[in-house]
Amino acid sequence: MMNTFIMEQDTLLKELNNIFIKVFEDDSIKLNENTTIADIEAWDSLNHIQMITAVEKHYKIRFNLNELLNFRNVGDLCRSIQAK
């Protein structure tokens, strides 16, 4: 069970990485658990919204407002996705 979980985390990060690259139009993005908005130049509060909607579309999920406002880094985002 643990192994599948970790694999999910890895694939999740890879998939998110692709989404990020597409939305932010930056090929150099390399995500990890602790990446925040400050770490990526192309990521700002404006295209953050686009990124969220792109993620929601990809996984066919909906975040609620409280979750969204409490995301501090990519790790939080991952956990929220996994919980759905």
Binding site: E25, D44, S45, L46, H48, I49, I52, T53, L65, N66, L68, L69, N70
Partner: protein
């Protein structure tokens, strides 16, 4: 107490001395005492307002944290929001609202002959700053991002700490509260870095801002007789003046806090070198723009994210109108906010197109032109900001284009202003682009550094305006 007054420095020196002499556990209490004293020095009655705000929010913050019921959390949250907004609106916007309400009555042909209940209230010191800080604190508790502060003294200090009373920054609970929990011990780095920061602040305020202010106010008050070129120069210089004034004062605030061992938020990051207006607002008055981003823009934009770009535009519009009116109760500030919103909406809508253009042109040229255009936009926005009415602002721009006459600039004042701006901008350019490998103020040899800072103080003695300039951001 002005940050550039001699009495302030006597106060600071005395406070720092006592602060490090008393046992560490009494230091926060000492800071509360001197902060209250600082507040009383300006006006005694204001202390009651801030104490009221502190008491209500301390109590409600804990209640929100303690209860598990979502309903109750919301209730307490809205109660706190009501209390905070009422205080802010009452002291800041009452007359403006009454004036416009009565004008509205007039338009609707309703009876507005009754005498309007205007109030002659002055704005309590730092109101806009600490109310916003407190609203942020309560919102963070409601969202579950932080725990309510249960230590009353710590919460009091968090709100009333004097360096951030005059011009902010608007602090955040997760940034400043943890620092208040730490035990502060004497570290000479803090004293030295704090003093250096204050020196730069004094330079920007006394040598750059106050000097330009003399010229600018002269030109604007006689604008009917000034040539278009003179008016344009005065407006361009005004941009440097506001930057130097506000960031200089902020430097003194941050330097002061540093001397006591605290790191307050950076409020400026070389904003005049921004390549577009979005970037400008990430570099100018950062504590305000990030506050608006976290508590207004983000919630709205996320809520309306299914509207696509229109959701963003709406969020931007509201955010910048808030930023506008935060500055004051006047239509000029609303208009200022709207103009920023329009610029940002434009930039968001044309993002792709502009990126394409940037790839085609040499990056140095593209960046230089971007910086210049952004600077021009900021300059024109500040014309609205500095005018008493929107009409006045447009008249001034009109005069800029049609007035003929002699160019008015005495060589002496011109040299003072240009030298001051050059020193300030060269420092910023070096910090931003790292053009030279040699550095004066961060030189490896501390002796060179000492001489550099001594020369800075010397230049302040030579070129500073000591007759007391007016600080713009006080009236917030």
């Amino acid at each position: 107490m002005l940050f550039t007054s001699i009495i302030y420095f006597l106060f600071l020196a005395g406070s720092v001395l006592v602060y490090y002499l008393i046992p560490a556990k009494y230091r926060n209490l000492f800071l509360i005492v001197i902060s209250i004293w600082f507040y009383l020095y300006v006006k005694v009655s204001y202390i009651f307002i801030i104490l009221f705000v502190i008491l209500i929010n301390y109590w409600l913050g804990i209640l929100i944290g303690r209860t598990d019921s979502k309903q109750r959390k919301k209730a307490f949250f809205y109660l706190s929001l009501l209390a905070n907004s009422s205080v802010l609106i009452f002291f800041k916007y009452w007359n403006f609202l009454i004036l416009n309400l009565f004008e509205l009555f007039g338009w609707l042909h309703l009876d507005n002959s009754a005498s309007a209940p205007f109030l002659d209230i002055a704005l309590p010191l730092g109101l806009s700053y600490y109310i916003f800080q407190t609203i942020g604190y309560i919102t963070d508790i409601k969202r579950g991002s932080i725990q309510a502060e249960t230590n009353f003294y710590r919460f009091t200090l968090f709100t009333i700490y004097f360096p951030k009373l005059l011009v902010g920054p608007i602090e955040r609970a997760n940034h400043f509260l943890p620092q208040l929990k730490r035990k502060i011990s004497f570290d000479k780095e803090n004293i030295i870095e704090g003093a250096r920061r204050i020196a730069w602040g004094l330079f920007k305020k006394l040598v750059v801002a106050d000097r330009i202010a003399i010229y600018h106010s002269k030109v604007i008050s006689t604008s009917d007789h000034q040539s278009g070129g003179t008016i344009l120069l005065a407006c361009v210089l005004y941009t440097f003046q506001v930057y130097a004034d506000f960031s200089g004062y902020t430097d003194i605030a941050l330097g002061t806090a540093r001397m006591f061992g605290f790191h307050l938020m950076e409020n400026f990051k070389r904003p005049l070198l921004a390549k577009n207006v979005s970037e400008f607002w990430r570099r100018w008055h950062i504590s305000l723009s990030s506050w608006v981003n976290d508590y207004i823009f983000n919630p709205i934009a996320l809520k309306y994210r299914y509207w696509g770009e229109w959701g963003l535009f709406y969020a931007l519009f509201v955010s910048f109108v808030v930023i506008g009116i935060w500055h004051g109760a006047a239509w000029t500030y609303v208009f200022f906010g709207i103009s920023q919103a329009i610029a940002l909406i434009y930039e968001t809508a044309t993002r792709r197109a502009r990126k394409k253009i940037s790839k085609r042109i040499n990056s140095h040229i593209y960046n230089s032109v971007s910086i210049l255009l952004t600077f021009l936009f900021v300059t024109f926005s500040l014309i609205i900001f500095q005018s008493k009415t929107i009409g006045e602002a447009f008249e001034l721009i009109h005069k800029m284009f049609i007035n003929r006459g002699h160019f008015y600039l005495y060589p002496s004042i011109g040299l003072f202003m240009i030298t001051g701006c050059l020193i300030m901008m060269i420092y910023d350019l070096q910090e931003e682009f790292k053009i030279w490998s040699f550095s004066l103020f961060s030189n490896k040899s501390w002796l060179v550094q000492q001489v550099a800072y001594a020369l800075l103080l010397i230049y302040i003695l030579i070129a500073g305006v000591f007759d007391g300039g007016q600080f713009i951001y006080f009236a917030f």
